[in-house]
Amino acid sequence: MKVLVALKHVGAVSGVLEVDGDHIDPAFLEFAMSDADGYAVEAALLMRDRAEAEEVVVVTCGGEPATAVVRDAMSMGVDRGFRMSAEDMGFDPLAVGRVLCEAVTSECPDLLLVGVQSSDLGQQSVGPATAALLGWPCVVGATAVQVDGKTLTAHRELEGGAQEIVSCELPAVVTVQTGPHQPRYGSFKDKMAAKKAEIPSHTTGVTPRVRVVAMRPAISTGNAEFISGDPRSIAEKLLEMVRAEQ
């Protein structure tokens, strides 16, 4: 069985930020693999460890800098990775879904794993969108995935701490939730290989239908009343608030 894992290269704002019209100066952003995607890679590697999967391949969608997340996954131990070269479509999950369909057509995986949501936007949409476009079943929010022959079984979280176990036939799409199986650190050998690897890229004809027209810093302080002071005086104020409610 072959697993394809889709990865998003996400930017996080560090410290003070400046917005310039419709984008943020990349100098204010720190890029990394989206949190949940690391858990998706881990889920795929666990399947390979258990001999349920023979090959784990990763794909990302974006410009040249996005190859960094392919290397990150290779240093965790995936077999190989590639990039679908595309203009910025981070705000259009359906467009990303169409690109992933192209990747699926060329790779023919039995299972597509994606993070349940990206850490920058949290739209929770790429997985279900891609599944619908492919006509594959979709399991949302899995914390554990197993495959036996052509049957997939997944544990998924429901609201309030309940869980359900679901099953479906392959091929399928599963969106992976962060959970107890923390992404691994790869071996020294994998890290060196990831550094040197050629990351192939393929062009895509997909154009996004959702575009950014303006961007501004969110009013992060809202209506909050700020209190300051040394830890002891803050502690006293908080205890007062708690006692008023008890």
Binding site: P137, A162, E225, P231
Partner: protein
């Protein structure tokens, strides 16, 4: 003509109050027609809203995501709507993107504004973990999942009810087992005061934090990363994939405020947040903001409380 279908939220044999917000958001877009799609109500329970053209009521409640998708598709065909509006919650994210894919529409979740445009829609939503707000132009049709508590409530008013048949489509994913939420003695739902701990306190800060909640007799909550890291059991998790809470007082220590956490605490009467980052998104919904190191505040509170 532009038409919108609103997917109702239903609770206690009536429209949930969130439905009134979704309806008023749809009415404010400038669309000519707004229809409401609902299930799980009888015809007499489905009292509509002022300005709504019709309620499309499923004759029986769908029991799978496939049936929900089919119902929405039916409603779109019937009304010629080019926009679907629903609440941004865990259930709806399971079908919203596939509804968009099936009907050649785009999807935007966590919307803070929505209006019609000559060739599509204009929406705004947060980006970069809530630190930025973006305006987006969407070409063509749109499935928009809206954040709650942004729009005012629409007024109730009876409107015509049309029934839709629920098809017996088969789900490709079947449930083979389930586990109840573990009985843990943690009752976050009815707690009056909740202290919640985030990643910012670090693993080493958690035991002292637990001690503090014990001495004060307040409920202990946690953000998702704290639970994922195994620092506290899942029963303590607050947020979209955990428990939604409504205490009188909620104090968050070292929680930056990922959207998935914030949706779980919006019903708290008073929110106090302690974080070292003055731009932490949690401050956007806090009533009281404290820029400080959470572990030091916890230590200072313990010093002020006698151990028993």
């Amino acid at each position: 003509m532009t038409a919108i279908v609103v997917i109702a939220e239903v609770s206690d044999s009536d429209f949930d109050p969130i439905t009134a917000e979704l309806v008023s958001a749809a009415l404010q877009t400038g669309a000519e027609e707004v229809h409401v799609v609902a299930w799980g109500l009888t015809q007499s329970q489905a009292v509509g809203y002022e300005g709504v053209k019709s309620i499309l009521l499923a004759e029986c409640a769908p029991n799978s995501v496939e049936q929900i998708k089919e119902l929405i598709h039916q409603a779109l065909m019937r009304t010629q709507a080019t926009c679907v509006v629903a609440s941004f919650n865990w259930r709806n994210t399971e079908f919203a993107a596939s509804v968009a894919a099936m009907n050649d529409m785009s999807i935007v979740t966590d919307c803070l504004s929505l209006e019609t445009q000559p060739s599509g829609w204009r929406v705004s939503r947060p980006a970069y973990s809530g630190k930025v707000e973006v305006d987006l132009h969407v070409d063509g049709g749109l499935v928009a999942l809206l954040r709650d508590r942004v729009w005012p409530a629409a007024r109730r008013d009876p409107v015509p009810v049309v029934t839709m048949s629920t098809l017996t489509s088969v789900s490709a994913v079947s449930q083979v087992g389930s586990t109840e939420a573990p009985r843990s003695g943690v009752d976050l739902n009815s707690a009056g005061v909740i202290f919640a701990v985030g990643r910012g306190l670090g693993a080493e800060g958690v035991p002292e934090f637990v001690e503090l909640t014990n001495r004060l007799g307040v409920a202990l909550g946690a953000s998702r990363p704290v639970v994922d890291a195994g620092w506290l059991p899942h029963a303590h998790q607050i947020g979209q994939s955990g428990t939604s809470v409504a205490p009188r007082l909620y104090i968050a220590f070292g929680i930056s405020g990922a959207m998935q956490h914030l949706v779980g605490i919006r019903k708290a009467q008073r929110i106090v947040a302690i974080n070292t980052d003055p731009q932490a998104p949690i401050f956007s919904i806090a009533d009281v903001a404290v820029v400080a190191e959470g572990t030091e505040v916890v230590k200072a509170m313990l010093d002020l409380l006698p151990s028993s």
